[in-house]
Each structure stands twice: as C-alpha cells, then as structure tokens.
C-alpha cells in the first residue's frame, strides 16, 4: 500500500459544463494516502459532479487529474477502477438475491471456461471480509443483511479491486449511531493501511470525528480547504452558505395548549409493543431511538397506514377510529414520511401536481372537472410561503434539490391544515440552508398551535428543537425527557435500553 502522506490524487482547475450552465468551475481537490478528506457543500454544490468526473462517468472539459503522479483524465468507470479509484454510491448497488461473494465478484467472476469457481470466490471473499474485521458467511444473501452490513460489504467489494482511493457518498445516511461507529472504525483501519478516503456527508459532527481535511464547494466552485483540527462548525457553515448563518436552530418558547392527540397501548407486532403518550397544541415533541425501535411504525398506526394495530387513539379528547390515511386526514393528522423519494413524492410529476395531491377532495368539491384558478392560487401560495426554489410549478419534482423536495412534501401536508403534524426524519439529506428554513417553519407552526411530533435520528436536532423527547426502545417508550434534562448521552442510554424507564406512565 501507498506510504502515508504521499499525494494520491490531484484534481486541478476542473471545469464541467452542462448545456447552458457550469456544473463545475475551476475546482481543485487533493487527496493524500492515509487521510480522510471530506467534500462538503449544500445539495447542488457540485460534489457529486466532481466525483462523477473522477469515476469516469462525466468527462471534464478542462482541467487536470493526476493519479499517482500521472496525469490522466478518466474516460470510463472501468478506466477509473483500473487507476485504483473505487466509488461507493449513496444508493447501495448490490443484487439482493445474490450472495455476498457473488456480489463481490460480479462482472469479474473467478472462472474456468465460464464455469464459476465458487470455492475460490468464497475463500477470497472471506479473506476480504475478515480484513475489515467482518465475520460474515460469504454465502449469505444480501437481502438477509442489515443496511449497515450491506454497506460493509460494499466497502469490502470496493477494496477488493485493489483501490487506494475510496470515495464514500453519504455512507451514514441510513445508519444508526452504533452502526456509524462501526463504519468509522473500519475507516480508521483503512487509513492506517494508507488508503485515501474521500468522504461526502451532510452531518457536521461526523466530519469532526473522522476527517483530516475538509474541502468546501459552493455553486459548482471551489471555496477552500481547511484542516479539520483547525476549523469550527461555524466556519464550515459560513463557507458552505457563503454568509454567516447566525443560527441553525430556532425555537421559541410556546405555552402548550390542550391535548391534541393521545394514544393508549398501541400494539402492532413486531415493532410496536405498547405505546402510550399525549401531545399538546404548540408542542414540539421529539421522538428518538435506534433504527428498528418502532418510531416510524408507531406513527404509521396513528396515520392509518397500519390498520392492524390494537389500542386507542384520542383526538382532542374524543376516541377516534383511524384505519386509513383518509380517516387520519379527516382527524387533522398529517405525516411527512421518512423517505421523500419513495413515500413523499411522485417524482415523475410536476411540483404543482405534488403540492395539491393531499387536497384534491377540496379542490374538486363542487368542481368535478377541477378548479384551475383555485389550484394555481394554492400552488403559488405554497411555493412562496415555503420558499421552494423551482423555475415553475410545472417543473418535475425529480429535478429539484433534496431540500426543495422536502419542502414540497411539508407544503403538501400543511395544505391540509393539520392539528397534528408528524415529521419523520424531516431534514435527512437536506442541506444546511434548507434545514434552517425547515426549523423556522416548525417553530412558526408551533406558535400557531400545531402539535408537532418529530421523529429524528439526528440528536442535535432533537435536543435543540424539542420541548420534550420521547425515547423508544424495542417498541416501547423508555423515557419522556423534559427540555432541561436533554443530552445525547441520556437519550442514547434510554434508546439502547440501558436506563430502564423514566417518567413513563
């Protein structure tokens, strides 16, 4: 492996143009052996484009790429791999019904005259896995692994092509805290072996934990590179957004009103095993827990997506029957789902279409053929109120940035004028600017008396935005924590089931 500190990669004055716009303008980047170098920027800043130029998916019009001392522009993915560059994309690229070993050797099967040498593949796979300290059976099917485990397999696969430059695009987006730790341990080990890692993430706290240097990009341009040890959160954010972001979190004190929602003994095996809580007007209640603790599943019961639960739900003190989304909506409940691309948006349709999908019954009431004037007014109002950046209401939702997509999902639920708004991971994959805006909306809504239940794995967000926090573990609420007792350590203690219960009925 390469000796520590040697320069593995230099990208100089990279330009990449798409019809009419510069996607990259004069971008520089450098990677040394044994370092983790973060690439930081808002969505649309050009991080992915730069990575694609490195991976041979895009070919830059101008600029120089120097790999291991040789100047060479990558012309294809294979070319890039041959130069020791391996990219782990944000979406996992494994075939679910093939085994670990089969996935690792996909496209370059060990074979004799077309007949696969299974035993050899398994043995090699085992060796590569154990190098990362993984004790998987190489015959295990990918579908039987957790997301984190799949991520590890991706890394093993990436390294198996003798890569000394590893690119990781938001690898922790779907990992729990614990799984992230395991990933970081692996990365530290790779560093020690002299591998250079380019790391893309939105999570600031992670950058400080794992990276050595940070390069910031904005609007397709290079802003600067800093040593992680010598910088601060505020400095990085200022570099990203191009201005001082005075405050990310914004939360006013609101006096809670009457109870909006109360649930008693919600049970829906295997994830929800007896959940009871209440939430009042104007309250922002955080819901914390590890993946699989039953948080989203609990919200699905309340929102009528799960119609097999047992237990009682009260809205404003009255018992209600909620077995479908429509019934939940009639009771003033709205849910911004966890995964905006899969559950939140019809990506192939327009921004306007998506914005009114939840209020069609109102728009079409008395107008069987629609009410374009009313609809246009509604759409224009939401685009303006939530500052959704889109060229027009006819733009396809898939062409918008993550932050703006998330704002559409929030807007389409605000359109229903909910009494209770459930937000499931409201800022996942959303850039800092849009995040601050989303926190602003939440604060505003709470002031108007909306009750907000915020499910989130982002602990700083939970701690800073919530009036109180419910912690879940294995389908039960293990703690109900007031604002003044919140800390990451306490939340994690109850989330991992190591604290018993606290303040729970």
């Amino acid at each position: 492996m390469a000796e520590q500190g040697k320069i593995l990669l230099q990208m100089k004055n990279i330009h990449k143009k798409f019809p009419g716009v510069y996607a990259l303008k004069d971008v520089n980047f450098e990677l040394k052996a044994g370092e983790v170098h973060a690439l930081l920027g808002e969505n649309g800043a050009g991080k992915s484009t730069l990575i694609k130029c490195l991976a041979g998916i895009y070919i830059p019009e101008e600029g120089e790429v120097i790999v291991n001392g040789k100047s060479h522009i990558m012309t294809s993915v294979a070319d890039s791999q041959a130069h020791g560059i391996s990219v782990i994309h944000q979406e996992l690229c494994l075939v679910p019904y093939l085994s670990i070993a089969e996935n690792m050797f996909l496209g370059r099967e060990r074979n004799v005259g077309g007949i696969i040498k299974r035993a050899q593949e398994n043995e090699e796979a085992k060796k590569m896995l154990s190098r990362l300290g993984l004790d998987f059976n190489p015959n295990t099917l990918i579908k039987d692994l957790s997301i984190a485990q799949q991520q590890m397999v991706e890394i093993a696969k990436a390294l198996s092509v003798k890569a000394d430059i590893l690119v990781m695009d938001e690898p922790t987006a779907s990992l729990t805290e614990k799984e992230t730790e395991v990933l970081f341990d692996t990365m530290r080990q790779l560093k020690a072996e002299g591998i250079g890692i380019i790391y893309i993430s939105h999570r600031m706290s992670e950058l400080f934990e794992i990276t050595d240097r940070v390069t910031v990009m904005r609007d397709g341009q290079y802003v600067g590179t800093v040593n992680t040890r010598e910088t601060t959160n505020d400095q990085l954010i200022a570099m990203m957004v191009g201005r001082e972001l005075t405050q990310l979190y914004f939360k006013d004190e609101v006096k809670p009103g009457k109870i909006v929602l109360e649930v008693k003994d919600l049970v829906s095996p295997p994830f929800v095993n007896g959940v009871s809580f209440a939430i009042r007007e104007g309250e922002i209640v955080g819901m914390s827990g590890l993946v699989g603790a039953g948080r989203s599943e609990t919200s699905h019961c309340i929102f009528g997506l799960d119609d097999r639960y047992t237990g009682e739900i009260f809205v404003e003190g009255k018992p209600v029957h909620i077995r479908s989304v429509r019934q939940a909506m009639e009771n003033g409940i709205a849910l911004v789902p966890e995964n905006r691309k899969e559950e939140g948006l019809v990506l192939v349709n327009s921004v306007g279409y998506n914005l009114t999908l939840t209020i069609l019954h109102e728009i079409f009431k008395g107008h069987p053929l629609g009410n374009p004037a009313r609809e246009e007014e509604e759409i224009a109002r939401h685009i303006k109120e939530l500052a959704i950046k889109t060229p027009s209401a006819d733009q396809l939702a898939e062409n918008l940035s993550g932050g703006n997509q998330q704002k559409i999902v929030i807007a389409k639920w605000l359109a229903t004028k909910p009494k209770l708004l459930i937000l499931d991971e409201p800022t996942r994959g959303v850039d800092v600017g849009a995040r601050a805006e989303i926190y602003g909306f939440m604060n505003e809504l709470a002031k108007q008396g909306v009750a907000i239940l915020m499910i989130s794995s982002d602990l700083p967000e939970v701690i800073n935005m919530s009036d109180r926090v419910l912690v879940m573990h294995e389908g039960r609420i293990t703690a109900n924590l007031g604002k003044n007792e919140l800390s990451q350590e306490i939340i994690m203690r109850y989330a991992t089931g190591n604290g018993g219960t606290r303040n729970v009925a």
Partner: protein
C-alpha cells in the same frame, strides 16, 4: 374572460404540438409520402374515413390500455373480453331470444364485470397485472369458444347490424363512438380527481398511499374501464360483421399496447396522455392502410409496425435523455 380562455386554449394546443412533435412529424411524413405514392387515392375522402373506421376499435382499446399502463400495469385481456362480449351479443339475440338492446347491454355488462374482476384481483392481491390479465385473456377467450361452440354465430338482424354499420351523416358510427370515448377519456385523465390518482398510482404508489389516495379503488376503476371499452368494441365489431366471432380481437391487445407506447406513455407508469395515444393509433392505422394501398401484404405490415415501434420509442428516449 373570453380572451383569457382563448390564450389558455391556445397554450394547450401549443403544448400538445410540442409534446408530440416527434410522432406528429412521423405521421405527417407518412401521409405526405403516401399522397405521392398512391396517386392521391390516400387523400380521397372515402379512404380517410375508412382509416378512421379501421382504427376505431384499436383506439377504444388503446384508451383503456393507456389508463392501465399509466398506473404501472397492463391489460392483456382486452382482445379476449372483446371476443366474449361480441359473441355473447350475437348469441343472446339468436340463441336466447333477447331483444337487441337487452343483448347488447347484457354482453357489455358481462365484459365490464370481467374487467372489474381483473381490477379486483390486481388491487387486493400482489399478483402482477401482467399475470392477472394474461390469465383473463385465456379464460375469456376459452369462454367465447365454449359459448359459440367454436363457430361464428350469425346474426343478420338489421337492428343489431346497424350498431356497427350505421352512419351519422357521412361519418360511420364506430368513428363517432371513438370520438366520444376520446373526449371522455381525455377529460377523465386530465381534468378529474380520478385522473390525478391514476398518475399518482403509477408514478409512485407508495407516495399515493401516504397521501391518502385510495390506490386499490383507482386500480379497480381503471381495469373496469378497460373491460368496458373492450366489451363495447366487441359488440360494435361483431355487429358490423353480423356475426359473433369467437376469434375476434386476437392479438388486439398488442396493437393497443403499441399505440400507447408510440404515444410516449412510459411502461414503468406515471407518464402518458390520451391525446398522444391517439397519434399512436393513427400512425399504426395509416401505416396499415398505406401498405395496403401500395399492395404490400399484411406480413410486411407486421414487420413495418415492429420497425416503427422500435424507432419511435428510441427517438422518445433520446428526447428524454437530452432533457
């Protein structure tokens, strides 16, 4: 107000032309070419009306198919539902002594019910639409053969025949039906809440569920509609031939799919328009008619159809990629 609506309708026309530029140019080019090679026969009023009548059955099936494909599904059973309803309509009159309106209504209701069955199974189970409607295609065809004993059922009854052979002024009734269904389908898909739901179900059924859209009901309505259109077409076709043919409509589903795809409807769902499907229908119709006029036999027509489908979809993909 009138000025504003005027501008709006102008915009709608412009948008239609822009969205369908490729297929419209193709259709136009074919027409120009045929006017030269057929010494004007192509452009005779008789031939043009003939084309419209020939495409009318495929058009009605393709409208239903467009709905099904936009929801991310497909309806392979339309040809067979057409056959069972067609033979039933003739048989009920001849064999069971039904009145003509009674026979027509009954056979259309039965065909529609088969569509509803498709929709029910698709909505309530996880069996893919391809499989469900493939099974229905077999069953309905089999039923048509059993009911008719495998023989055409002759029904030389003027009252019945007029459904398929009649005219409204110079325009054959089947063309009128087609135009009526064209307008209804356009309105349903582009103007109503149901149409919005159709796009949501195909574009992202999970997001549709999360938005309170009744996905199951939407799917049921779509396949019921497709069944109705197939049944109606079957009655018209058999009335025109004065005979309930159990072999009618064989591989018609393929032409309906071809027209839908030619119109730019995405096989993965969520995208498509009835107006575009109509262009697809006309392309196939003009192609068949033109090759007939040129004296090429139907085997060549099939090859030409295949080439046109590949070309059109390829051009469409290029257009999308460029965006």
């Amino acid at each position: 107000m009138s000025l504003e609506t005027n501008i709006k309708s102008q915009n709608a026309v412009m948008r239609y032309l822009k969205e369908n530029m490729g297929t419209l140019i193709g259709l136009f080019a074919m027409c120009v070419l045929l006017s030269f090679t057929t010494n004007g026969v192509f452009y005779s009023q008789r031939n043009l009306i003939n084309i419209l009548r020939q495409v009318s059955s495929n058009a009605c099936l393709a409208f239903g198919m467009t709905f099904a494909i936009i929801t991310g599904g497909i309806d392979l059973s339309v040809g067979s539902i057409l056959a069972i309803s067609g033979t039933l309509s003739a048989g009920l009159i001849v064999k069971s002594g039904f009145s003509v309106p009674g026979a027509v209504a009954t056979s259309i209701i039965i065909g529609t019910a088969l569509g509803l069955f498709n929709g029910f199974v698709i909505a309530k189970t996880t069996i893919p639409p391809f499989i469900v409607t493939l099974a229905m295609m077999q069953m309905a065809r089999g039923a048509a053969y059993i009911y008719s004993n495998g023989q055409p059922i002759r029904a030389m009854i003027p009252e019945y025949m007029i459904i398929g052979t009649g005219y409204l002024g110079p325009i054959p009734l089947p063309v009128i039906y087609m135009l009526v269904f064209l307008i209804i389908s356009i309105i349903l898909l582009s103007k109503t809440r149901f149409g919005r739901h159709v796009y949501a179900v195909g574009g992202n059924d999970k997001a549709a569920i999360f938005s309170g859209v009744n996905v199951a009901r939407t799917k049921m309505m779509v396949y019921t509609m497709s069944g109705f259109l197939a049944a109606f077409t079957g009655v018209v076709l058999c009335a025109r031939m004065a005979s309930g043919q159990p072999t009618a409509g064989q591989s018609f589903e393929m032409d309906a799919i071809a027209a839908t795809v030619l119109g730019g409807t995405s096989m993965s769902g969520g995208v498509g328009k009835i107006g575009s499907t109509m262009i697809g229908v006309l392309i196939i119709g003009v192609l068949n008619n033109g090759l007939n006029l040129l004296g090429l036999n139907s085997f060549w027509q099939q090859i030409a159809k295949g080439i046109v489908i590949l070309l059109a979809v390829y051009v469409d993909m290029l257009k999308k990629r460029r965006k």
